[in-house]
């Protein structure tokens, strides 16, 4: 496989996975909070084609009442794990994407400023970066979370997570971008443009930023999966998105309870769902980062 097809394959694969989450409202047979109290911890249902209806109630499939369809079983309240998995993917994947976007924007702004202007600004930013990097990242996330209000709505929690995860993650991209900018600043065409009287803003926009694109893209493929895991970890620990809105993290927290461990293995589904997502990003990152060495 060539590099190009590998990248395309990874992108298509990831696109499908994200599509599943985005179209949760259509693909999931039930809303995420709909309870079927009469079926707690129902095991995954076998498919019987007779009862299955397609395109009902604006959803892809469903079954006639009073029948239920639990492709991946149900949880303690009789909620469909499959539906919650899709809706939960929305929260987890979106957190990863938005937080990575925030980190990269911050990293790009701060890294470019540090690399381009140098001097005290550079020293200040790099020292601040060292402070942030002085903690193990999960401890850092939890510490920042600790100093913020605990009792908040799920929507607030969602945005809070994005700000925390994205906000503390700027250091690594900023450092790498700074490195690129430092060398770009001395390139011949940049010096020439400066000699012709180009302003700083023009130089950065026209000559420096395009050179950072490669680093930004590879960093994105590294950061997004890491941030998805961060959301999962925080929600798992009860410091992220809470009930009734599902996220892969808070769903896993239910799977950890003793009786779920012993008898309800399907509760692990959200944990397993993370694996293909990580694999997709891993393949993308590996392919992007190792271009020349493959040729040997």
């Amino acid at each position: 496989m060539t590099r190009r097809t590998k990248i395309a394959a990874a992108l298509v694969f990831l696109g499908i996975l994200h599509g599943l989450a985005i179209f949760a409202g259509f693909l999931a047979p039930y809303p995420y909070a709909e309870q079927h109290r009469e079926f707690p911890y129902a095991p995954p249902t076998g498919i019987h084609w007779s009862g299955l209806q397609f395109l009902v109630h604006g959803r892809l499939f469903g079954v006639r009442e009073p029948g239920v369809v639990f492709l991946l079983g149900s949880d303690a309240y009789g909620r469909d794990v499959f539906s919650r998995l899709l809706y939960g993917g929305r929260v987890s994947l979106l957190t990863g994407l938005l937080a990575a976007f925030l980190s990269l924007s911050l990293g790009l702004a701060l890294g470019t400023a540090a690399g381009f202007y140098g001097g005290w600004l550079d020293r200040l930013l790099m020292r601040a970066g060292e402070l942030v990097m002085a903690l193990p990242w999960l401890y850092l996330l939890l510490a920042v979370r600790a100093f913020l209000p605990l009792h908040i709505t799920t929507v607030q929690a969602f945005f809070l997570l994005i700000v925390i995860i994205g906000g503390v993650g700027w250091v690594r991209p900023a450092r790498m971008i700074r490195g690129v900018v430092l060398s770009a600043r001395e390139r011949g065409f940049v010096l020439a443009a400066r000699g012709f009287g180009a302003s700083d803003a023009y130089l950065i926009r026209r000559h420096i930023l395009p050179l950072t694109l490669g680093v930004v893209l590879t960093q994105a493929t590294v950061l997004i999966p890491q941030y998805i895991l961060a959301e999962v970890a925080l929600s798992f620990l009860g410091l992220g998105v809470g009930e009734p809105v599902p996220s892969w993290g808070n769903m896993l927290a239910e799977a950890q309870q003793y009786h779920a461990l012993v008898a309800h293995g399907w509760m692990l589904a959200p944990g397993l769902a993370i694996i293909p997502v990580l694999l997709g990003y891993l393949l993308l990152a590996d392919t992007l980062m190792a271009p020349a060495s493959r040729a040997r």
Partner: protein, 314 residues
Amino acid sequence: MRYIGRRLLHGLLLLVGVSVLSFVFAEMAPGDYFSELRTDPRVSAEAVAALRAQYGLDRPLPVRYAAWVASVLRGDFGYSLAYNSPVGPLLWGRVRATLLLTGTATFLAWLLALPLGIWNATARGTWFDSVSKVVLSFLLAIPELLLAIVFLMLAVETGWFPAGGMVSPGPERVKDLAWHLVLPVAVLVLGMLPTLVRHVRASMAEAIDSPFALSARAQGIPRQRMLFRHLLPAAANPLISLFGFSLGTLLSASLLVEVVMGWPGLGPLFLEAIMARDFALVLAVVMLSASFLVVGNLLADILLYRMDPRIRMK
């Protein structure tokens, strides 16, 4: 020695910076331990204010910081409101548990990663290398959190391993402890292994392809001696740096594993402290985790200094 001294000073300054920053953050934080109390309608605002004054929380920030530093020097690390005792005694047992877990995991992970990575580097292009690459990539994509839960599930179902905790009552304390260590250590090792093997493979491959390796081979130095005596030291520098970097990831993974498996380390204590808004305890755990990283990086620096004369010249 000047070099080590400089690194030490740098680490200390970093810790001071972290502590000041944490204090400022805690100051800006909405609510504290007592505001959780305040949600109880029977507790009046005056009573809360009186309690704040009693524990010295109404003093200005610099005064409190100075008092905190003094208490760190005494080994108390401030006063935990939730546990109603100095923080220090709460910590030491937890620190031991976390260090035991992460230390064992690090040791085992490197013990496995070095031979595996070296073997992969010598077998580049063979089916063994390809298979191990695929397996390791897959392993890299399995979150530690999931591994921990699945292992716990297996422990509960088979009864071969204790389902969480660190000790169970009975004689044979060392054997019992080792038995409890197996699963959490396994999770951490499996989590670290792919990254370590990749890096070992990459830096060994570079050493193998270098001109001095070719000439050494031409002179007929035996394979084993060549790999471990000549090539490994040449490939060691990035690996030692990796040891420093990987500590942060390890501690993060360890936090999750400790919480899932009920290992009485810093992780569960940290979580409790956050839920109770016990800022003194939060601060102490933050400082400890930062010092672990600082000490780990210092160790890596010292090792680099011993291994590589080029650093001594700088």
